[in-house]
């Protein structure tokens, strides 16, 4: 692992709210989708921060908000000492060289009519780094070699590659600009299992060689557990738990994290037969109209009367760096509160006035 010196990225109370417009003549705002609602976290240099949560929890929006691909509504995003929300136009564009993104589906994020060379050079040109032809060419070859593709790939087009290779091109495109931070939104979920492992190993190797900092957004807890140093769990726009990967998986403290972990199937029948599942009742409530108080109280088997409904728990440090947003985390851990039955509440995909879809708010790229 690379040496770690202080945070590279700090988010302070970041909010991303999307207005819901309605009306024929005037675009009246009739409500908001509270996609990200007050998230604070910091990512150290050379570290991998994993963000997990189910669809609609705001994890992708947070990643995009960090790069200002969607404009945050409020909060501070400090990248290497500067608040990038205060940057404008050209200075923001230049700052983007240092933060790059890897998308989920390489087929739809790579232009089918551009050759690999043109895809890779585009970023260099945009940042005025492609003046010297020979140097550019060398840079492209180095980058391709780093992601395990032959130099002959330069003349080819995305459709000529397999899914795993396409994702390597996506990674190369991010790497070619020599960034400090890479935000990877579901980098392996479109890939087959045997290919997933190749790409995850590659990302780890690149981090060790180049000292990259990663923000990895994924719904697959096993993947995040494998690759991340610190893991943050999101539920309905808020961070509910954050801890080092080992601590979180050894002792999840938030009821939602507990349920999430117990729901992940393990490819081992002996483990599966003995496991106790915490089955959550019902579905994720709509982020246009999040429950008052603790957002998880409608599905929480440990919810206690009044306080969970009245007061939104803040993320607080419980045990040396293990942060939890639950009023009763200690009581649950000590077994002083027992889980109870929860009746499923019906959740409508079109709650409020938002366009009703599968519950996924932001079409994932």
């Amino acid at each position: 692992m690379t040496e770690r010196t202080g945070p590279l990225v700090e988010l302070r109370d970041v909010k991303v709210h999307f207005p819901i417009k309605s009306g024929l003549l005037f675009d009246r705002t009739v409500g908001y989708v509270y996609a990200v609602d007050g998230v604070s976290l910091s990512i150290n240099k050379g570290e991998t921060y994993g963000l997990v949560g189910e669809s609609g929890c705001g994890k992708s929006t947070l990643g995009r908000g960090l790069l200002r691909l969607v404009e945050p509504t409020a909060g501070e995003i400090v990248f290497d000492g500067t608040d990038i929300r205060s940057l404008k136009g050209e200075s923001m564009r230049r700052a983007r060289r240092r933060m790059q993104m890897i998308f989920q589906d390489p087929l739809s994020s790579l232009d089918p009519r551009q050759s690999v060379e043109s895809l890779l050079v585009e970023g260099l040109k945009a940042h005025g780094l492609a003046d010297d032809k020979a140097a550019t060419n060398r840079r492209l070859r180095e980058t391709l070699a780093a992601v395990g593709l032959p130099a002959s790939a330069l003349a080819k087009y995305p459709h000529e590659f397999s899914g795993g290779q396409r994702q390597r091109i996506g990674i190369a495109r991010a790497l070619v600009l020599d960034p400090d931070l890479i935000v990877a939104d579901e980098p392996v979920s479109a890939l087959d299992v045997s290919i997933q492992a190749q790409v995850l190993n590659l990302m780890e190797d690149l981090q060790n060689e180049l000292g990259l900092t990663y923000l990895i957004i994924a719904h697959d807890l096993a993947v995040v557990r494998h690759i991340a140093d610190t893991v943050g769990v999101m539920y309905l726009g808020g961070l509910v738990e954050e801890a080092s990967s080992d601590d979180l998986y050894r002792e999840p403290m938030h009821p939602y994290t507990k349920a999430l972990m117990s729901a992940v199937p393990v490819p081992d029948p002996t483990v599966e037969d003995r496991r106790e599942r915490i089955l959550l009742a019902g579905d994720l409530p709509s982020p246009t109209n999040p429950p008052a108080g603790c957002r998880f109280h409608t599905r929480c088997p440990w919810a206690q009367p009044t306080r969970c409904v009245d007061e939104r728990p803040a993320l607080r440090d419980v045990l040396g760096g293990h942060r939890v947003a639950c009023h009763y985390a200690e009581d649950i851990a000590a077994g002083r509160i027992r889980p109870h039955e929860v009746a499923p509440e019906l959740v409508r995909p079109d709650d409020g006035a938002g366009p009703g879809d599968t519950g996924e708010l932001i079409p994932t790229p």
């Binding site: 087959d192 045997s194 190749q198 393990v266 081992d268 002996t270 009746a343």
Partner: protein
């Protein structure tokens, strides 16, 4: 007699001017009453095409299906389309991956469940709707009376999948085929649906064919597991046997390349090199040979046969992983 006996099932896709593509290549397996059988493999291994061929749902043109699909002794591939339609939904139910695209968006949920009952059990609309309400209740849809009149877009993804299960189980089929039933769902919802499926299968004694790419889902659910690669079964074993002592290098590779929630951190994943070939596999030797670490000369000369193992399974490999080698 087995409930379902698939013998040498092949599906060859043929487009004019192109080389024929063998998607499913002499696949044989059987399902006993009440048993849960898994078909596992990565994209392109032929698992979904196998299920569509069993159900007779492949398009009429552009493909050639051969072999036998014996359901209680009768060959489904030889049935007339009308007779097959009688069986689908009544004897064999099917659940698809994406409930939004397999439900009719302009027909209320209740009617879609009732339709099956009217068609196969000759019920009138009123009785069918009453039964539909009970079915929705049985699959855990809250307030089923109101749900009957609602459209698929008005309920969440997990509820839609429950509605689809209600439709598939409406006629109490003896066999249920579930093709990636939880892939489109979040993990907590996936856990709900898998628990529901397991419970329904236990209660009704329905046999289940579970098609999935997720080894975790198989580990908790299936009695017997068939691993497919390039359209062929490469390994078949009982659940504990397969996960405890995988013999085929592909199965072994798959199991060691998945990151596990309960494994220690910081170890490198054992990736399988290369990727599935696009060309027609199995013609010149084992299709997995180019990616295999155990490859021997015999692997490049003709298809290795599927042979019974000492532990009651079947294996298609010249140089299997030794039984002592554990999954890392």
């Amino acid at each position: 007699m087995s409930l379902l006996d698939v013998r040498d099932l092949s599906v060859v896709f043929q487009r004019r001017g192109e080389r024929p593509f063998t998607a499913v290549d002499k696949v044989s397996f059987s399902v006993e009453p009440g048993q849960t059988v898994g078909l596992v493999g990565e994209s392109g291994c032929g698992k979904s095409v196998t299920s569509l061929a069993i159900m007779g749902l492949l398009p009429k043109r552009g493909n050639r299906v051969s072999g036998e699909v014996l359901f209680e002794g009768a060959d489904l591939l030889k049935l007339r389309p009308d007779d097959m339609r009688d069986r689908r939904g009544r004897d064999i139910g099917m659940i698809f991956q994406d409930p939004l695209s397999s439900l009719n968006p302009v027909v209320p949920i209740g009617l879609q469940v009732a339709e099956v009952l009217e068609r196969h059990r000759g019920m009138n609309r009123k009785a069918a709707l009453k039964e539909a309400r009970e079915l929705l209740d049985a699959v855990g849809i809250p307030d089923p009376m109101r749900r009957l009149k609602e459209y698929p877009h008005q309920i969440s993804g997990g509820m839609r999948q429950r509605a689809l299960i209600a439709i598939a189980l409406a006629c109490k089929p003896r066999l249920l085929i579930a093709d990636e039933p939880t892939t489109a769902l979040d993990v907590t919802i996936q856990a709900q649906i898998l628990t529901l499926l397991k419970q329904l299968v236990d209660e009704t004694g329905t046999a289940l064919i579970m098609i999935t790419h997720d080894l975790g889902v198989v580990a908790g659910l299936c009695d017997t597991v068939n691993v497919l690669y390039g359209g062929k079964v490469v390994e078949r074993a009982a659940r504990h046997e397969l996960f405890g002592r995988p013999r085929h290098p592909y199965t072994h590779g798959l199991l060691s390349s998945v990151p596990r929630l309960d494994s220690p951190r910081g170890e490198r994943l054992h990736a399988i090199p290369g990727s599935v070939a696009d060309n027609i596999p199995w013609v010149e030797g084992c299709a997995f040979a180019p990616r295999c670490g155990n490859v021997v000369d015999a692997c490049l000369e003709g298809t290795p046969p599927l042979e019974p193992t000492a532990t009651g399974g079947d294996l298609r490999c010249n140089n299997p992983v030794s039984e002592e080698v554990a999954v890392p």
